[in-house]
Each structure stands twice: as C-alpha cells, then as structure tokens.
Amino acid sequence: MRERSIIVWLLLGAALVLVLNLPSPIEERGKAAIREFLAPLQEVVTRITQGSRQWVDAVRTLGEMAVANQHMQEELTKLRSEIRYLEGLEQENAELREQLDFMQRPDRTLIPAEIIGRDISGWWQTVRIGKGIGHGVEAGMAVVTPDGLVGRTLNASIGTADIKLISDSMSQVSAWLPRSGSHGIVSGGGLSLQGVPLLTMRFINKDTEIRMGDEVLTAGLGGIFPRGILIGYVETVQRDDTGLYQRAELVPAADLGRFNYGFVVAESHDPVDLLLRGPNGGRQP
C-alpha cells in the first residue's frame, strides 16, 4: 500500500514537472482550448451582470436621460458637419500626397469587440474580448476605445483574445507630447487604492515645458501602437530621481476600469515610418 502511494506521488510529481516545462506552443494551445471552452459561459455571465448593472444605472439616472439625449443630439449635428469638413480635407490630403509621390497610408481596420471577462487571477491588468484569430485579431495589436488607447492584444485563440491594459505594471508605450514635441515612455502602475488606473510618463527631456492637461499621444515607435492615439492627459510633473529627466503622472483618456467595448486596430503600420520610407522603401530626400 505504501509502495503504491509512493508510486502515485512520483507519477504526480513527474506530470507536474512535465506541465511546468511544456513547450510554449503546446502550452498556448492548451490555454486556448480552456479559454474557448469557457468563453461562451463567461460571455453569458458577463452579459447578465452587465445588463443588470446597466438596468440599475438606467433606473437611477432616468431624470437625467432627457437632458443627456438633448446634448447628444446637439453633438451628433456638430460631428456630422465636422465629418463633412474632414472628408474634404482627406481628399485634399490624398491629392497632395499623390503629388509628392508619398506612399499611401494603409487603411486601419477597427474590429469591434465586447469585453467578456477580466483577469481571473488579479495579478495583471488584463481583459478578455470575444473576438480572436477567427475575426482577424492577432497578438500584438493595439486596442482603443473612442476615448483613447486601452492596451494591446497578448494572445489570441479562435474566438477570444486577452488584452494587456496600458495600466498594467509591465506595460510600456512610447509616447510624445504634441504641444512641446518631447518624447518619453508611458508605463503602467496598476490601480490606486481608489481603483484609479495609474500611468506615468518617464524620460521626458528636463528642459521641456509641460503644462497640466497637456495631451499625451502614442509616438508610433515599436511597431505595435500606431502614432497619434490619445493616451491621456498630464496631471502632475516632477523631476525624476536622477535629475536628468522629468516624470509626469497621467490621467488615462479611456475609462480603463469600466469600458465594455473596444476596437482592435488590425492594421498598425506606422504612417511616419511609411512617410520616411517612400514608395520604394527608401528615405525621402
């Protein structure tokens, strides 16, 4: 009996060592299978909880809805006129680019995706969307909401993909301040005690003048995040410990804690890079 018990424990130990040292592709396939199996259930449960939350919110803010509707109508009219104006500009821009012999910018496809769950372990700032390889989503694509940058896709199965949020402590995005033209790196800092996502922009030139409320956009370096997506706004600025750079605390533009929908940017070519390369891949003079 004792010998049998030892054999069982040895087998268990061997199996564990095997699982811990699984080759990456096999591990990914195993994880994808579990995700695919549980995704429909997860989606149903998330829809129910979201639906009930929205219903409670709707009842609570019934009085404010008429006012909000009025504001949205006004904004819709304004945005429609802006679209008409921008269409004219886009056409003019395309003509000018053609005259200058620049490469055409590739169209970015935005794949809409619903959030079906958040990180089960709580160690990371991630969410799961209900779109995957089957819908054109791959690892390493930027994810945005109408308000701004949210994160990037990490791994994708047929019908799901995980998104690492920009507030994750292992997340880094190359960024720039359009008002001053200074560059830096935006790192995530997790959540504050109040549940507010923390973002810090580091390595900003120490001589750059930064004002509170300055916009921070993606710089487009690194090949994942397209240039020009709004990350957030500067809240506070201070000199970093070395004294060589400045550091700015940011308020994220997108509501990282509560968003229910996002868009995966399927084409993430860097327009600046394309501009420099020109039609034959060489630099423009």
Binding site: G30, I34, Q42, V45, R118, D119, S121, W123, W124, L191
Partner: protein, 173 residues
C-alpha cells in the same frame, strides 16, 4: 456523478472569480473562489478527490489567465494537502474552521504564486504591494470560503453524494 459535480463546481467557481472584479483597496486581490473549492475538498473528501480538484482548479485558473500552466496546481495542491493533513485536528464542520482554512489557503497560494511569478519576472510587484495583496486575499478567503463551502456541501447533498441530514455541515461520505 462525483466527477460531474467536481467539474461543475470548479467551472462555476472560475466564472465567479472571473466576473467579480478585483478589489483595489485589498491589494487587487480577487475572490479566491477556486481556492475555496479546494479547501472544501481538502476538508470533506479523500486525498484522491482533493488532488484531482486541485489540479483541475489550478489548470482552469492558469488557462483563463496569464499564469503559466502548472503554477496554480502547485499552489493549490501544496496548500490543499497541508490542510487535509490538519483536518483530523480540527472540527471540520465549524464555521470558524472554514474561515481559518480559507485564510490559510488564500495566504499560502498567494505567496506561492508571488514567489513563482516574481522568480520568472512575469510580474513587477514590490514586497509592500505583495503583503497588501496577501492581507487582502486573507480577508476575502475568510469571507468567501465558508459561503462556498456551504454551497458545495448543499450541491453534494442535492446530487445524493451525501445523505441528507439537518446539519448543513455534515461530513461527506
């Protein structure tokens, strides 16, 4: 039937854990629903069922998140076996027992995962943040484990895996 109940409980716990957001004031700790299921099997079932559920719960937790395969089964397995070794020394059916073992499981599994994840550079968490998280997990473990323990016992009775009695804390089998 036993395997079906085991699988259902684990999946339900995983869904519960995935739907309820983490608590920033508690160091971003999550409700340790899967850990609570392992505590239930450690106290109420034999070693074979415990190991099976620890591996199953661990693989589901790892599969649904970014933790590499095998880390959570190690954490749940080690803590589950420790708890099952202590069950002869305690009153298995007491609420206080479930709370204490819920705390032990949450603290132990969080620490094991923290060590494994930091040693492989998968997370960047300061020691103070880790301690905050451990304390948060302990609190959530103390609250969640007795509730889920009761739920598991109820389901087992409904499925006829245990004889129905007046006591909701009756030992299984």
């Amino acid at each position: 039937m036993n395997a079906l109940v085991m699988l259902s409980l684990t999946i339900l716990a995983a869904l519960l854990q995935a739907v309820i957001p983490s608590f920033p004031r508690l160091g971003q700790a999550n409700i340790p629903a899967l850990a609570a299921i392992v505590v239930y099997y450690a106290l109420a079932r034999d070693r074979r069922d415990l190991i099976t559920v620890a591996i199953l719960a661990g693989l589901i937790q790892d599969g649904m998140g970014l933790i590499p395969f095998g880390y959570s089964p190690v954490a749940f397995g080690v803590m589950g076996v420790l708890i099952s070794k202590c069950k002869e020394l305690v009153f298995v059916h007491e609420l206080l027992t479930h709370m204490l073992f819920g705390i032990l499981m949450a603290v132990g599994s969080t620490l094991i995962l923290y060590i494994l994840l930091t040693s492989t550079n998968l997370i960047d968490l300061r020691a103070s943040q880790a301690l905050h998280r451990v304390a948060g997990s302990a609190l959530l473990g103390a609250v969640a484990t007795p509730i889920l323990f009761r739920g598991c016992a109820h389901l087992d009775r409904m499925m006829g895996l245990v004889e129905s009695t007046d006591s909701p804390w009756q030992e299984i089998r």
